[in-house]
Subunit: 206 residues, 2 copies
C-alpha cells in the first residue's frame, strides 16, 4: 500500500467507481428480475444481460446465484431504509398517520415482490434458506428500529413493542394482499383505522 504512487491511485479510483457502478446495476437488475419473473426465472445470466454486463463480470462480483439475489434484496432494502429516514429528516414525526402510511408503502412495489419471491423460494430450497433467514431477520430488525424512531414509540411501556411489531406484520400482510390486485383504496382505509388504534397505545407513552 505504502508503495502506491499518486499517479497509480488517480488511475485506480475511476476503476473502483466503474466496478461499484457495475455492481449496483447488477443488484438493481436482479431485484426487478426477481419481482417480474420469480426465482425460477431468475439466473445470473438473465440478470447480467438485463444489466448490460458480461456474464464473466457478473460472476466476478457474485460467484453464485444465491450471492447475487441475497445481496440484491439486502442492497435495495438498505436503499429503502435510507429513503424512509430521509422522508422524515427531523426523526420522530408529529403526524403518525404519515409514518404508518410510509411504513406500509415499504411493502408494496418491486422490493417487496422480489423479497417475497426470495422468501418463498427459500422455504423449499435448503441452499437458500439459512441466508435468506439471516437476511430477513437483519432487515426486519432495521425496519423495526426505524419504525420505533419515527413513531417516537417508548418501548419501555408495556405493549408498545408488540403494537409496533403487529403494525409491521399488518404492513406485510397488506403487501401480500396487493400482490395480485391493486388494493390501494382498501389499504388506505385500513391504515387510517389502525394508525388511530396505534396512536391510542403510543400516546400513553409520549
Amino acid at each position: 500500500m505504502g508503495g502506491v504512487s499518486t499517479a497509480d491511485r488517480a488511475e485506480r479510483v475511476p476503476k473502483q467507481d466503474r466496478s461499484r457502478a457495475t455492481r449496483q446495476r447488477l443488484l438493481e437488475a436482479a431485484v426487478s428480475c426477481l419481482a417480474e419473473h420469480g426465482w425460477a426465472g431468475s439466473t445470473v445470466s438473465v440478470v447480467a444481460e438485463r444489466a448490460g454486463v458480461s456474464r464473466g463480470a457478473a460472476q466476478h462480483h457474485f460467484p453464485t446465484r444465491e450471492d447475487l439475489f441475497t445481496a440484491a434484496v439486502e442492497y435495495v432494502a438498505e436503499e429503502r431504509s435510507t429513503a424512509l429516514r430521509a422522508l422524515f429528516p427531523e426523526g420522530a414525526a408529529d403526524d403518525r398517520h404519515a409514518v404508518v402510511a410510509a411504513l406500509v408503502d415499504l411493502y408494496t412495489g418491486p422490493l417487496f415482490r422480489a423479497a417475497l419471491h426470495l422468501w418463498v423460494a427459500a422455504s423449499n430450497e435448503e441452499q437458500l434458506r439459512p441466508r435468506v433467514t439471516e437476511l430477513e431477520s437483519r432487515v426486519g430488525r432495521e425496519t423495526h428500529r426505524i419504525a420505533v424512531d419515527l413513531l417516537a414509540a417508548d418501548e419501555s411501556v408495556p405493549g408498545v413493542r408488540e403494537a409496533v411489531q403487529g403494525l409491521l406484520d399488518m404492513a406485510r400482510g397488506l403487501g401480500l394482499a396487493n400482490l395480485l390486485t391493486d388494493d390501494a383504496a382498501r389499504r388506505e382505509r385500513v391504515v387510517t383505522q389502525w394508525a388511530g388504534l396505534l396512536e391510542e397505545t403510543l400516546g400513553r407513552g409520549r
Copy 2:
C-alpha cells in the same frame, strides 16, 4: 334417467363414493405437494403418485394443472372455514382473544403455505392469475364473514369493518413471518396486544 333400475342405482352409489374419495385424496395430496415443493415442483403426475391414483384418473378429475391446484386450495380453505366455525359452535364467542388466536392460526400451517405458493406463482403466470385472484377474493370474503360473526363485530359502527380487515391483514403478515422460522412465541405476544386494541374498538359496538 327414468330407465335406471334400482339395481343399477345401488351399484352406482359406491362408484360415486369411490370417485369422491379419489378426488379428495388428490386435493389433499395437491395441497401438501404445493406446500412442500412449491409451484415449480408441483405437477399433476407428482400429485397423482403421492395420492396413489393413476395419472389418467387424476386427469379425468382435473384436466389441467391449474384446475387441480386452484380446486385444492379452495377445498382446503373450505375445510378450514368449517373447522373454524366448529371451534365456536355458539357463534359469537365471549373470549375475543381466543377468536383472534384461532383466526391467526388459519395463516400458519400447510394451507397457508400452499396458498402462498399459488399466489406467488400466479403473480408471474398469466394462465394462473385470473383464477387465483378470483379464488383469493372468494376465500377472503368468507374469512371476513366468519371473523365478523365470531367477533360479534357490528360493521355499522365506523371503523369496525376496517379494524377486522386490518386484523386479517396482520394475520396474513404473521403467516409470512412464520414461513422461514418458527415465530410462535413472538406471534402470541403480538396477538395478545392487538386483540386488546381490537376489543376496545369492537367493545363500543356491542
